[in-house]
Symmetry: C2
Subunit: 643 residues, 2 copies
């Protein structure tokens, strides 16, 4: 399953070429594996339930049928949104990574079937978009909304994944014909439009990496730079929405539609890496800083606003109406991964972990059958479901706009690619970095390593050498930013950077990292309205939440208060929610709104608010498993008792 | 200018027939006047600037041209939204009330011109909608979005206002032809659809009041009851948006699009009053209670969400992203007015005052030339304007969807109608109630009264008898709910009800009400996230706000803290913002977010938040005058210092 590609480029989501100016490089597909724990369980549910159900849904929701009609193997009319093809491509990418992860000839056969279908559906000149072809729309007539480049981008990503995990070229042939058509059609002196939804930028760079065709990289760079001049005007949203208000090189923050913004940034990071464009990389660092400092939820969630699925103003981070689209957190991971490769800074690996284990993982049910599009940090009592994306409905099997489900699928099937990288240490020794901790194996810089850990439930990580090269190699282990007091072999190591050991290794050598797993109370900046006077609970990399089901009878989650001075105890509950560590803390039932109150407002001092009512023991669960027992009141930020 | 109509129905917005089951009745148009103070200044700006500019804008924005084309007096195509006619009608209603208020032959002439235009544009069978007529749309083909009944409703309201203030019938003739056409087309056994946007219900009841034609009332009742069965499906929003999820009689709260919801409720209240339907009235009281208790801003603003311009869940009341559409507060006034007439309860007059003086009045600039569509309770530093409704732009001269500006115009020109009512006291004596305080005059129950006051800046109100009938008459003065400690002639009177004097009056008799005008700190229920740990400042009926322009150098409004234990002083500043009383209080500059912070989150205890930084004197202005010096940071809810 571990296939080295012809260019020597080797693995995972985003794999810079050997000439790219990056600090770190991915390990080869299959060179990192996850064999147990949280991620393994989720990946297995993805394999056994989510991906098979996705294939069915792509048929019943007509996505595959559209392509069959375009291929001439079925009859009828296109059904579904203009971007219907992209769901097929994201599923196809998931299937490709999954084949790389776990094999399965059926899965390979389905990929071949779809590749065959796409080959037939593709126009002579390389154009391929079933909905546009079937509805006899003029190509690129309405690029701000037609998602034609967006669909092409997802096709290319699927084809690259397929090539990297199966070695098969048939999808890559379709994808390169699409890309050649784009190169012939778009760019300076040709059609100078950009798609309303980025992703083509990342895709073209990956295709350049896979094929070595420089024109793909050049077009990606052109798309990055053509954007941001307000060329998408008068399409129902301001240019901001389309990431088209400010050029990427000049932007100081992220704004507009969150998924569009982070996909564009990830593609720009790819361009910066492959072209050695340090100015562009610096601009992206600035934007990432701003996002993380002012526009990201504690869960890693991105995009505060339902209106336009967009980033809000700085510090505008409501809990109940957090949009925090699952796709945006996935795009955030993709961007952070590229920043990690480019800079080698541990903070980006911290970010990947925060997003994956909280804001992405909350997007799919434990059994892999239902999804959240929107990932709020609070669901109130009496919340009314409004539209199919509303969390008040609970999770849903699919969505009319079905971008999130196959995005989760491709993420869960390619997770191992985010575990480790290789590079050189400052002395020029080969080095392998382990960024994310899960039981399994990592191979890199000549070392074959076994990883034993019960992380994220336990903070102990033991890395054992199975095979070692001659000469010194550096093994670098990320110490997360929250892990103050971490030790390596019992010696303190600083948080927020890599703890390294450089030596000549022998089989059986082991390194033991201990990360402190004491529960932490977290506070937010005062400008974050909905978290003012509140604390959140974290333990290790996990954000916790109170969900109604776990609280004593009579406790109303909307009204509780907690005392951050009280002790918090952790207990692992193998029987609960697939096996989770819960946190117990003392709190107080606050006053519910008086039933006879005419308004929620009162002159100070005239209405009693018992913020320290009856003492109760509250139980918090990891945020990412909420809403697996039906929709119910939940909250991450907890008001503190007044002293 | 004071014209008694043929039915004996006499005044203002919503005037129940003599057979209606209501506690209170409006006074005749012109029987209440406002001759000075805040409302007079605003009404004068409306007369001299807003209404004339509106007439121009209706031409440049093509609304009038559409009607001219439909009338055959111009050529071309319809331009603008499907509901373009409604802006003309709302302007026409404003012109009619304004003529009733201040006269002006030009204003009357323009009304006649438009009436003539409408007569020509109207189809033989009574149908009238220029956009549908010009775009050759099939009538009522897309009633959820076509706003055909909505436009008809605003035409009818304009015609009724025109008839009541000028005595002229020509607009009423057009309106009755429209209404007859609706009666012939809609209802049980005919077309059983409802419009996507209520207002026709209120309008038909008013037309019934004006003409005595029972069929109009019957159709209004049918429209009220036909709604709420999910008949509007598959039109881009759930039935909730269209107030079509739950029948009015069964609903326990307000939900969906805020303007639609409150317009429907106001129309249902009209139906309940005219048909003596106590079950319907009880349902509306229940819904009003729920709205006021859980879904209304301190400013009276209605509709928490930008998404769908809708009400949120209970206690979901963000400050920065408050939508609080100007039109929704106006609709709230219309609903509260009908509840006041039906029940005689002072709480509804309190509500009218809160909405008018805060959430409605904030919708127009002091000079009458610019508007807010959206009325948030906070504007942050670095807020980015997104779309023409964004408060971060500052006020705007007009909007693509121009519902709010002419709605403000018709409200400002008809304000005096909300001042007073008549009825009987519990002993059967004739009674006049004064609900709102402004310098001017009130006539009712045989009493002619002069009102002297500097309210809302000063709490003294002196009512002097100019003319009195024989026999005892009750004079009832509203003591607002906030006015604990109010006195009538020096004797304490309870807040939240009417203080009454029953006697035989003589010319020169006077009653003096003193309302306490001490500034108040107001707190919100704990469930209101964005107000937790905060206070707001109120004085009299006014909500106050901190705006950046009034604060000492270096004070960042986003970061201040106030001490609710400190004294607040009031000072009237005739030179400021048209003359306002400002409030001064001690506060502290809190910490800005650390410039080197990587995220807004930190483990409790690891980052210092100086909530009691440098002591500063802060100045608050009435919320309704904010953004008259350009857009800038502003906030109503102020975090308190920690002790």
């Amino acid at each position: 399953m571990t296939t080295e590609t012809s260019t020597g480029v080797t693995a995972g989501p985003a794999a810079p070429t050997s000439s790219a100016q990056v600090a770190l490089r991915p390990v080869a597909p299959g060179a990192a594996t996850i064999t147990g724990g949280v991620w393994h369980a989720r990946a297995e549910a993805n394999r056994t339930r989510t991906i098979p159900a996705g294939a069915e849904l792509l048929r019943t929701a007509h996505n595959l049928v559209n392509l069959e009609i375009a291929a001439g193997t079925a009859e009828g009319e296109a059904v579904g949104p203009i971007f219907a093809d992209s769901d097929v491509y994201k599923w196809l990418e998931a299937a490709a990574w999954e084949y790389g992860r776990s094999g399965g000839e059926d899965l390979l056969a389905t990929q071949h079937e779809i590749a065959e279908l796409l080959t037939r559906a593709q126009a002579e000149d390389g154009y391929l978009n079933s909905v546009v072809q079937l509805r006899e729309h003029e190509r690129y007539r309405n690029l701000p909304w037609s998602h034609e480049h967006y669909c092409a981008g997802h096709l290319i990503q699927a084809a690259v994944a397929h090539a990297r995990t199966t070695g098969g070229r048939e999808l890559l042939d379709v994808a390169t014909k699409v890309a050649d058509h784009l190169v012939a059609t778009f760019g300076p002196g040709k059609t100078e439009d950009v798609d309303g939804h980025p992703v083509i930028e990342m895709a073209l760079v990956e295709l350049y990496r896979e094929t070595g065709t420089r024109a793909y990289l050049d077009l990606a760079r052109w798309f990055v730079d053509a954007r941001g001049h307000g060329i998408i005007e008068g399409h129902g949203h301001a240019p901001t929405y389309f990431s088209d208000r400010v050029p990427v090189r000049e932007a100081t923050t992220v704004e507009g539609h969150a998924v569009r913004a982070v996909y564009l940034a990830a593609g720009a990071a790819d361009v910066a890496a492959e072209t050695g464009d340090t100015e562009l990389l610096a601009a992206l660092q600035r934007q990432y800083d701003s996002m993380e400092r002012t526009k990201q939820y504690l869960t890693g969630g991105l995009g505060a606003r339902w209106e336009g699925e967009s980033f809000g103003d700085p510090y505008e981070l409501p809990n109940d109406r957090a949009y925090a689209e699952t796709c945006a957190a996935i795009g955030g991971v993709q961007w952070a991964w590229r920043m990690l490769l480019a800079t080698g800074e541990a903070r980006y690996a911290d970010q990947i972990e925060r997003m994956l284990l909280n804001g992405v993982l909350s997007g799919i049910s434990l059994d892999g059958t239902e999804f959240f599009y929107v990932n709020p940090l609070q669901l109130r009592s009496d919340a009314h479901p409004e539209g199919d994306r509303s969390p008040a409905h609970g999770r849903r099997g699919w969505f009319e706009c079905a971008c999130c489900p196959p995005n989760v699928m491709r993420t869960l099937s390619s997770l191992a690619g985010y575990l480790a990288t290789t590079g050189q240490d400052t002395s020029g020794n080969p080095a392998v970095q382990i960024h994310q901790y899960a039981p399994g194996s990592v191979s890199g810089a000549g070392l074959d390593l076994d990883v034993e850990t019960a992380y994220p439930w336990d903070g102990g990580v033991r890395v054992t050498v199975r095979r070692a090269p001659e000469g010194p190699v550096t093994l670098a282990l990320r110490v997360p930013g929250w892990a103050e007091g971490a030790t390596l072999h019992g010696e303190p190591v600083p948080a927020g950077q890599y703890a390294s050991v450089t030596r000549t290794w022998s089989t059986g050598d082991a390194v033991t990292l201990d990360l402190p797993m004491s529960p932490r109370f977290t506070v937010a900046d005062d400008r974050v309205d909905a978290a003012r006077g509140c604390v959140a609970l974290e333990r290790g990399p996990l954000v916790y939440a109170l969900e109604a089901a776990d609280q004593p009878d009579g406790v109303v989650v909307d009204d509780v208060r907690v005392d951050p001075g009280s002790a918090v105890t952790a207990e692992h509950r193998e029987d609960l929610l697939g096996g989770v560590t819960v946190l117990r803390l003392r709190g107080h039932q606050g006053s519910a709104p008086p039933s006879d109150a005419r308004s929620p407002y009162a002159t100070a001092g005239t209405r009693e608010h018992a913020t320290r009512g009856e003492a109760v023991t509250l139980t918090a669960i990891p945020y990412h498993v909420w809403a697996n027992r039906g929709p119910q009141p939940m909250r991450v930020w907890l008001p503190v008792v007044e002293h």
